[in-house]
């Protein structure tokens, strides 16, 4: 058992898989010799050498295209798209190529690869380097999408992603890279498509993802202490496949559903899950489903403005308590 940062967990997860499988290769901008701009891949180049850990030009389309071609023909590439926002410059691969290949070829070809992105806000980087783009990927059929919230989950979900035979988008959260957590020694393999109940509770279900998870947990403690509201906090972890069993079971139990989302408001993962609940467990709901999100705006650079935009524990607690006390908005 060792205490690891989320950042180190990325390198550990990749190393575990590269050690196990020669077909695993890794490419991206400044990822090799420099160990990545977030220092999440330090040591891989030294350990696995220049043929397996490769620096690329600033050519995101070439990076993802090359990963796809290699994946189709037998390798298991991991590609880094440095900031998640840059997914927009290579979105053709994410939306049109990776996820449709198997279907269009009637199963002749597959695309087993992992795209890692530095997702999310909190670093005062402004509108083009701070986005939470989970929904850009969740909305595309044929992808799998995960977003871990702890070092342990990073290692285990990375392993699961690399071993999965589908294209997996792996959203790392930039503002969690420094977070520490216990990670057992030895091989760790988690499974995609599983949510985790991090705090059991009976009054309301709060769903959160990535950086919103610690904030939702903090809010839940405050809600319990200050308002006597006992929230079940679920880390969704995997958007596709989506663990609707765990989620809906909880909603049926508590009768109330809240989502805490860092993405701008419209068409986020919370909207999808809220809609599923409003359809499938409608009669078990005891009140409105409420999404607590970043407002539908680009993110500002200034620190206090950014902090105001992204949900935090206080805002979550305040909103949940107000709604639970029956004031509708």
């Amino acid at each position: 058992m060792a205490e690891l940062t989320y950042r180190d967990a990325v390198a550990r997860g990749i190393a575990q898989e590269m050690e196990r499988d020669e077909r695993v290769v890794f490419l991206g901008e400044d990822v090799a010799k420099a160990g990545g701009v977030f220092k999440a891949t330090v040591g891989l180049y030294e350990r696995f050498g220049p043929l397996r850990v490769r620096d690329t030009p600033i050519s995101e389309q070439a990076i993802l295209g090359a990963a796809m071609g290699a994946a189709m023909t037998g390798l298991r590439p991991i590609a880094e798209i440095m900031f998640a926002d840059f997914a927009a410059v290579c979105f053709d691969y994410i939306a049109n190529e990776f996820p449709k290949l198997r279907y269009m070829t009637n199963g002749q070809l597959g695309c087993p690869l992992v795209v890692r992105t530095g997702n999310g806000g909190g670093a005062r980087f402004g509108a083009q380097h701070s986005q939470s783009i989970e929904n850009w990927t969740m909305m595309i059929p044929g992808l799998k999408v995960v977003a871990p919230s702890s070092p342990l989950d990073v290692v285990g979900l990375m392993a699961a992603a690399v071993r999965d035979d589908n294209p997996v988008i792996f959203h790392e959260h930039k503002s969690l890279y420094a977070m520490k957590g216990e990670v057992p020694d030895g091989e760790i393999v988690d499974s995609l498509g599983t949510a985790k109940i991090l705090r059991p509770g009976k009054d309301a279900t709060i769903l959160a993802l990535a950086m919103m998870v610690p904030r939702a947990l903090e809010a839940a403690e405050a809600l319990a202490a200050q308002h006597g509201i006992d929230c079940e906090v679920i880390d969704v972890r995997s958007l596709v496949p989506l663990d609707t069993q765990t989620i809906l079971t909880s909603v049926v139990k508590t009768g109330r559903l809240f989502t805490v989302e860092e993405n701008p408001r419209l068409c986020g993962w919370g909207a999808e899950i809220a809609s599923i609940a409003a359809d499938e467990v409608f009669w078990d709901l005891d009140g409105p489903i409420v999404r607590i999100t970043t407002p539908h705006i680009p993110l500002p650079a200034a620190d206090h403005l950014e902090d105001l935009a992204i949900p935090n524990a206080a805002r979550i607690a305040e909103r949940v308590s107000r709604v639970m006390n029956g004031s509708q908005r």
Binding site: R54, Q61, A66, M68, Y103, N106, L109
Partner: protein, 332 residues
């Protein structure tokens, strides 16, 4: 060059002629079937461009990989995929290459090294790089060939792929079929240089290679050199083949944007005609030539009948093969 035993030889020439004839026949049939409303969706013919498909494929070895575009029937057939499989897919029947799920723009047959046909301009150039990277990484000797049109040279992915292939010295060959038009717009109106691929090779440290794409021998010899280079670990090549499509861009296009007489000029340089004459020049008997032509029509008629008789794909196919487990479940 005109002796019977030049570097190409009679057998190869007969193969290249057969390929050109089969492609020509099959593409014409596709057009007929479209007129009969039996080809659904769109389709993009290579009528007039057959020498490229034939010349490239004849220089390829088993195991080499082809990456095609929506205009990929020719390259798919040239790798040995049966006509029935291609026409079946155009007709979106259950006997098609992808059982009608992909359609004419996405012909794929991994068994024949046809690693997909891509319908978003430029996307497959980086993908071909990736396949070549795999070969290099695993120490294999196969080469990836990527076909695309003149218009494709103006999209960003072209640029990224070329640079990437060169710096990683990848065994990939980029074959630009310059048929003078993007869809309906002449390439010269939208391109900063006269030769959209050839005049850009130097920007990637590559040799300028611009060839007659209507002469299968020229294509074949050029490709042989490129394959040798790729297999020797010397990196990629970019080959611009000058050609012309005899029909419109896609099935819906009557090609009215062409200046009068242009098609006629190019018809004089019809690759199939040129190559038929070439065979004769090299002393190949008319009977052997005619046999190829007859056999092609026979195979084509059989294939057509088989396609007409083939069922539609079963409805269950709708939700298969979204994910690797064979299904489409995005939730538990």
């Amino acid at each position: 060059m005109k002796g019977k035993n030049d570097d190409i030889g009679a057998d190869k020439r007969l193969e290249m002629y057969r390929l050109q004839v089969e492609i020509r026949d099959c593409e014409k049939r596709a057009y007929d079937l479209f007129l009969q409303n039996l080809v659904k969706g769109t389709s993009h013919l290579s009528l007039g461009q057959e020498a490229i498909a034939a010349g490239v494929a004849s220089a390829m070895q088993p195991g080499d990989l082809s990456f095609c575009t929506y205009r990929g029937h020719a390259h798919t057939l040239a790798r040995g995929v049966p006509m029935e499989k291609v026409l079946g897919e155009l007709m979106q029947r259950d006997n098609g290459l992808m059982r009608g799920k992909g359609g004419s723009m996405h012909l794929t047959s991994i068994e024949h090294g046809v690693m997909g046909s891509y319908a978003i301009i430029g996307a497959h150039l980086p993908i071909a790089c990736g396949a070549a990277w795999r070969a290099q990484y695993l120490g294999k000797t196969d080469v990836s060939v990527c076909f695309f049109g003149d218009g494709t040279t103006n999209i960003g992915a072209f640029h990224e792929a070329l640079n990437f292939a060169v710096i990683w010295k990848l065994p990939v060959i980029f074959v630009c079929e310059n048929n003078l038009y993007m869809e309906y717009t002449p390439i010269s109106e939208v391109t900063a240089v006269p030769h959209p691929a050839g005049d850009r090779a130097a920007a990637y440290g590559l040799d300028r290679i611009v060839i007659d794409g209507n002469d299968a021998d020229v294509v074949y010899r050029t490709m042989q050199a490129a394959f040798t280079r790729a297999r020797a670990g010397e990196g990629p090549s970019l080959v611009e083949c000058l050609t012309y499509r005899h029909s419109g861009h896609s099935r819906a296009d009557p090609a009215k944007y062409r200046p009068a007489g242009e098609l006629e000029e190019w018809l004089k340089r019809d690759p199939v005609k040129i190559y038929r004459a070439r065979l004769a020049e090299f002393g190949i008997a008319e009977a052997a030539i005619a046999a190829i032509e007859q056999e092609s029509r026979r195979k084509l008629d059989l294939a057509t009948e088989a396609c007409k008789a083939a069922p539609m794909p079963p409805v269950e196919l709708l939700t298969t093969d979204v994910y690797a487990d064979g299904g489409w479940a995005w939730r538990n």
